[in-house]
C-alpha cells in the first residue's frame, strides 16, 4: 500500500505563495473566490496543531487536532478530550482509530485527500450558481485576525455556510453550517491554533502505548462498478446534477445497490436504490446534520441521504422514477 502522496513540491510552493500573497488587509484586496482558492491551498499544505470545539445539536466536543506533511505524506491526529479518549491517526491513506479503553486499534484505508477534522465547503462553491458568496466582515478567532465569508443559498433546498478565514493564511479558523432559518446547526471552531514549526512529530504519534493493543481491520464490504442507470429524479431541486451512478455489490451477499450522487457544487446527495425489503426506511430520519428520506416504489426501496434540509432529500426520494 502506498502512503506516499505527491505533496512535497506542491506543499512547499503553495505554502510560500500563501505567505507571500497575503497582506493584513485581505478583505479589501481579495475577492471571495480568491479567498476560497487560497483556503483550499491552505488546508492542503499547512501544518498546524490546535484545539477544536465542535458544537452540534446542542452538544459540544473538544478535539485536539494536529497535521503535518512529512516527506510528502499527510500525517494527522485527532484526539477527543472527553469520553473514552478516542484518537484517530492518519498516515497517508491509512487511518487508525485508537480506543485506549478497549485496548484496540481499528484500521481503515482512505483514498481521499480530505483533512481529518475539516467540515469545510470546498472552493468549488464558486462554481455553484445556487449560492451567493460574499465577504462580510473582519473578526477575530482563536486570537487571530480573520475575515468572515458567507455562503448563502438562494433557496431552502440547501444549507448555508459561514467561514472565518485567517487573514494571513486563509486557513479556516471557524465554520458554521446554517439551516434554512439561519440557525446554526453545526459549528467547528479553533479555540487555539499554532502553525508551522510549532508542530512536533510527537503530537502525531499515539499518546498511549499501543504495542499491546489488538489491531483490527474491517473487511471490504462492497465493490463499485460504474453503470448507466435508468433511475432519475424527475423533480430534482434547482442546481443539482448527476455526479456519478454506480452499482455497489455487497461482499457478503452479492446483492447490489444502485448509488446515484447528485451535487449542486457544494452539497452532495446520495440516492440508494435496492430491492424492497423490511429493513428500508420509510419517511424522514435525521442523524447529526444529515437528513435521510426513504420510500418504496414498484418493489424498490429508495433511500436518499445528504447534509441538506429534510425537504430536499424528501423531494428527491419521492421524485425518483425509472425510465
Amino acid at each position: 500500500m502506498s502512503r506516499k502522496i505527491n505533496y512535497s513540491t506542491r506543499a512547499s510552493l503553495t505554502t510560500a505563495l500563501v505567505f507571500a500573497v497575503f497582506s493584513a488587509d485581505g478583505l479589501a484586496q481579495s475577492s471571495p473566490a480568491e479567498w476560497l482558492d487560497r483556503m483550499s491551498d491552505s488546508v492542503s499544505v499547512m501544518s498546524y496543531e490546535g484545539t477544536v470545539i465542535r458544537r452540534q445539536n446542542g452538544t459540544s466536543d473538544t478535539l485536539k487536532v494536529a497535521r503535518k506533511i512529512v516527506d510528502g505524506v499527510i500525517n494527522e491526529r485527532l484526539t477527543t478530550q472527553e469520553g473514552n479518549g478516542l484518537e484517530i491517526i492518519r498516515v497517508g491513506n491509512e487511518v487508525h482509530c485508537i480506543l485506549p479503553d478497549k485496548q484496540t486499534v481499528l484500521v481503515e484505508e482512505w483514498n481521499n485527500q480530505s483533512t481529518l477534522f475539516s467540515a469545510l465547503p470546498t472552493s468549488d462553491v464558486r462554481y455553484a450558481a445556487q449560492y451567493d458568496v460574499s465577504l462580510v466582515r473582519e473578526d477575530r478567532v482563536a486570537g487571530r485576525s480573520a475575515v468572515m465569508l458567507a455562503i448563502r443559498p438562494h433557496d431552502a433546498f440547501r444549507f448555508g455556510h459561514r467561514i472565518w478565514l485567517d487573514q494571513k493564511t486563509a486557513f479556516p479558523l471557524k465554520t458554521q453550517l446554517l439551516d434554512v432559518n439561519g440557525d446554526i446547526i453545526e459549528q467547528v471552531k479553533f479555540a487555539e491554533i499554532r502553525f508551522g514549526s510549532k508542530v512536533s512529530q510527537n503530537v502525531l504519534m499515539p499518546s498511549v502505548s499501543i504495542e499491546s493493543f489488538t489491531w483490527y481491520k474491517e473487511p471490504a464490504r462492497y465493490r463499485q462498478v460504474d453503470i448507466d442507470t435508468s433511475w432519475n429524479s424527475v423533480d430534482i431541486p434547482p442546481g443539482f446534477r448527476t455526479m456519478s451512478t454506480k452499482t455497489e455489490i455487497e461482499s457478503a451477499t452479492e446483492s447490489s445497490v444502485t448509488h446515484i450522487v447528485y451535487s449542486d457544487g457544494l452539497a452532495d446527495v446520495s440516492v440508494f436504490i435496492t430491492q424492497e425489503d423490511d429493513k428500508g426506511l420509510t419517511g424522514a430520519s435525521t442523524l447529526g446534520t444529515s437528513n435521510s428520506y426513504g420510500t418504496q416504489l414498484g418493489g424498490f426501496q429508495i433511500t436518499v441521504v445528504g447534509k441538506v434540509p429534510a425537504s430536499t432529500v424528501a423531494r428527491i426520494a419521492t421524485s425518483m422514477q425509472q425510465r
Binding site: L116, L120, V188, S197, T214, E218, P219, V261
Partner: protein, 216 residues
Amino acid sequence: MGKCPLRGIMSDALKTQISAFVDGELPDNESELLLRRLSQDAALRAQVDQYMAIGRLIRQDAEVPGMDDLRDRIAATLDDEVVPAQAQAQEQEQQRVVGSRFMTPAIGVAVAATVAALALVGLSQLDASIDADLAGAVAIAYTEPAVEQALANQPNQQLLEYIRRHGDSSSDLGTSGTLTRMVMFELREGELVEIEPDAHLLPVVADEDLQDTNPQ
C-alpha cells in the same frame, strides 16, 4: 474480540423488573430478589448497566433517577456478601475502576467506549439501530410516548451504512464523517478481522520540525 457488547441477552422479565425498580414500583420482596441476583452475577450487572446506559442515551438524560439507588443498593449488597478473603481483591479492583463498582472492569470499559463514541457524534438516539431486540427492551423499560416516537424514527444499520457510503462518495470525512465511521466500527465489532500491528505508529520516527512557516 467477541460480538458487540451491546448485544443484550437479558430476558424481558428481567428488563421489566429493572424498569419497575428504577421507577420505584417493584415490590420489596421482588427488589430483594433482584438485588441478590445482580449482586451474585457480574456479567448480568454489566448487561444491566449497558441497558441503562442505552436508556439514558435514548432519553437524552444524564442519568436515570432510580439508577443511583439501584447501583447503591447493589453495591451495599455486594459489600454485605463479600467474604474477607474476597474483600481485599475487590477493593483493589474498585481502585482500578474508579467510580464503577457496578460494572466489571473488562465489560465496563467496553460499554464506556461504545457509549462515548455514540455520544461523540451526537447520535444520542442511535441505539435503535444497534439491536432491534435491545431497542425493544428499552421501549419496555421506558414507555413514555416520546421514547417510542424517537425509536420509530431512528436510523437502522442499513441507513447508517448508506450514510457512511455517502460520506465515501462526497469526501465528507470531517469531524462528523470521521466519528460516524467510528460508530460504524463499534457496531461491527464482531465482524472485524484481526491484523498485525503496523510498526509505523510505534514511536520510532525521529522528531523533525517543519521549516518555520509560522505567520505570527
